[in-house]
């Protein structure tokens, strides 16, 4: 048990010593996950709302497909994205393999079904009468959707929290697409795996602590935003 306590002690020393590489890894992790979440929110929330509101053929199978996507194994997503981004793949011209852009892309693909499915579910909970009322106030379809989403901000922020939580802890896809290249694509999760495999438990614990702290900080901020206008019961 002693080595665990020792690991924590060394980890704290590492964090407070201001290790530049460690903080660069943390910054990259945060940037990749936040950008991927933001992109997934920008695409997934309107898409989910549109699917919820509109009537079209195969709507139910599409929703089932999106729900299935919530459980998409990250390594499968990573493998597919790697094949697409590889030099001979259809997106090879982008030259995104083993770059942060590639990691954002794969994380976006992982988060998109989560945020879309939760948005569909939230929007389907809107009273149809409310939506009709907003339309009759003179709203365009887009304005009506925006007003409904504003009313659903608790549920939308829950979707954001769920999406970010999934991404910040994700390791398999970014390992495959990013390659865990030092100073380029090394993330907190991939570095933790690597340091653990190398037996550097203190560094692995330090990385894990930073990951948890960052995750908590972002989620705390989102939760504050979410709970800001919840009336007391």
């Amino acid at each position: 048990m002693g080595f665990i306590a020792e690991g924590f002690q060394k980890a704290l020393q590492l964090i407070f010593s201001g290790n530049a590489e460690l903080f660069a890894i943390a910054r990259l992790s945060l940037a990749v996950s936040l950008l991927a979440t933001a992109a997934a929110v920008l695409a997934g929330v309107p898409l989910g709302s549109w699917i919820a509101i509109k009537k079209f053929p195969l709507k139910k199978p599409l929703i089932a497909l999106i729900n299935t996507g919530m459980g998409l194994p990250p390594v499968v997503a990573g493998l597919v994205v790697m094949l697409f981004l590889s030099r001979s793949g259809p997106l090879g011209f982008l030259d995104w393999l083993y770059t942060p852009a590639g990691m954002i892309l794969v994380q976006f693909i992982i988060a998109l079904p989560i945020i879309t499915a939760l948005s569909v579910s939230a929007m389907q909970g809107v009273d149809p009468g409310f939506y009709r009322q907003v339309l009759t106030l003179g709203a365009s379809d887009r304005q009506a959707m925006f007003i409904c989403l504003r009313e659903l901000r608790l549920a939308v922020l829950a979707a954001v929290i769920a999406g970010f939580g999934r991404l910040v802890a994700e390791v398999g896809a970014v390992m495959i697409v990013g390659g865990n290249i030092r100073h380029q694509t090394r993330m907190l999760t991939t570095a933790t795996v690597m340091e653990t495999q190398m037996g550097n438990f203190d560094t692995a614990i330090a990385l894990g602590l930073i990951l948890l702290t960052l995750s908590f900080a972002v989620n705390f901020g989102l939760t504050l935003l979410q709970q800001k206008k919840v009336p007391a019961r």
């Binding site: 009709r132 009322q133 106030l137 003179g138 709203a139 504003r150 009313e151």
Partner: protein, 354 residues
């Protein structure tokens, strides 16, 4: 301002709305009454461009309302108030300003004016979620009037309000509507609300408008048995006009003969309609000027609002409306014998199609 013809709209459930034609001019209030499931809200949704009809024509403000290019323009010229206020999670002021914001306009004076019209200026900073039902309805009405709409559609806007609040809002709404010159389409189940607000009344039953006209005329002279039943005619007797002298028809019902002033002709099969408030009851057999007078027995007494409904067996079923004082004074109770009478002008004949 609102003109429709041959409007047809159906649901998978088999329900069909079939409205041949009607028109509402600026400043006119048309109230549509009808039982649950008659199609009132379906018709309102069609006028609000929320439910496109399968056929027919609809003209709003002189434009073809079914043409997609006119939809947004027309939506922004109308306001709709539903039975639930559907306010957003904002202040009252922001709720009332919302239609203006959606049109890219910010007009604080118009918002203040709308709040003032419905006497809720003092609530402008309050969260909409903390309003009472009456206040929320006032906010919804203020929101509807903030754009000074040319078309106003009201879908049972007072359905969930208590009588006192409803009366107050109804009075204010009437004033605002009369001053606005908007064409108003008002859907309700409550005949009292309809009479308070409307200039013209229509009765919708099973997806069809069965009668349209001035409210007093429609209540006194329903065109068919379904309308009569809905507008509160409790006594509807089938019969045949046996003879006629001047305008006074003698109608044989099989169990009695009634005298009714009507344009019907001898040989016509008819329904005799008698409104309960037109039936007088007395214990003694005093003479009066009423041509229809029957001895009967009380079958039941039931409260109906501030009045009572007295169901009498006079050889045929006859319903009378009596006050609480009359019930006490005449000691009315089931089994009590009395006399019921009504004037020949107080009954109405509907020709039956055989």
């Amino acid at each position: 301002m609102i003109k429709l013809s041959g409007l047809r709209l159906g649901y998978d459930t088999g329900f069909r709305l079939e409205v041949d034609s009607f028109e509402i001019c600026g400043g006119e209030v048309l109230a549509v009454i009808g039982p649950n499931g008659a199609g009132k809200t379906t018709l309102l949704n069609a006028l609000a461009l929320l439910n496109p009809p399968s056929s027919g024509s609809l003209e709003l403000l002189g434009r073809d309302a079914l043409a997609p290019e006119n939809k947004m323009f027309l939506r922004r010229e109308m306001s709709v108030v539903f039975s639930r206020p559907y306010l957003t999670n904002d202040t009252v002021e922001k709720n009332v300003a919302l239609p203006l914001a959606l049109r890219g306009r910010g007009d604080a004076a118009a918002v203040d004016e709308a709040l003032e019209l419905f006497k809720i200026r003092h609530l402008k900073s309050r969260s909409a979620k903390t309003l009472s039902q009456g206040e929320a309805h006032r906010a919804a009405l203020a929101r509807a009037f903030v754009t000074k709409p040319k078309l106003l559609l009201l879908d049972e806007p007072f359905a969930s309000l208590d009588a006192r609040v409803k009366d107050a809002i109804c009075r204010d709404l009437r004033k605002v509507v009369k001053a606005s010159n908007a064409a108003v389409f008002f859907v309700t189940q409550d005949q009292g609300d309809a009479l308070t607000l409307c200039d013209t009344l229509a009765v919708l039953v099973n997806g069809r408008i069965l009668q349209r006209g001035e409210p007093q005329e429609l209540f006194a002279r329903p065109a068919c048995a379904e309308v009569a039943d809905f507008v509160g005619v409790d006594t509807i007797l089938p019969g045949k006009v046996a003879s006629k002298e001047d305008n006074l028809c003698r109608v044989e019902t099989g169990c009695c003969a009634l005298e009714v002033v009507s344009a019907c002709e001898p040989g016509d099969s008819v329904f005799v309609c008698v409104r309960p408030e037109n039936v007088s009851v007395s214990i003694g057999a005093e003479e009066n000027s009423m041509r229809n007078r029957f001895k009967g027995r009380v079958l039941s007494i039931e409260p109906r609002g501030l009045e009572y409904r007295l169901v009498l067996d006079c050889g045929f079923g006859l319903t009378a409306a009596v006050t609480k004082q009359s019930v006490e004074k005449l000691r009315l109770e089931p089994g009590r014998e009395l006399y019921a009478s009504f004037k020949a002008t107080a009954a109405h004949l509907i020709k039956r199609m055989l």
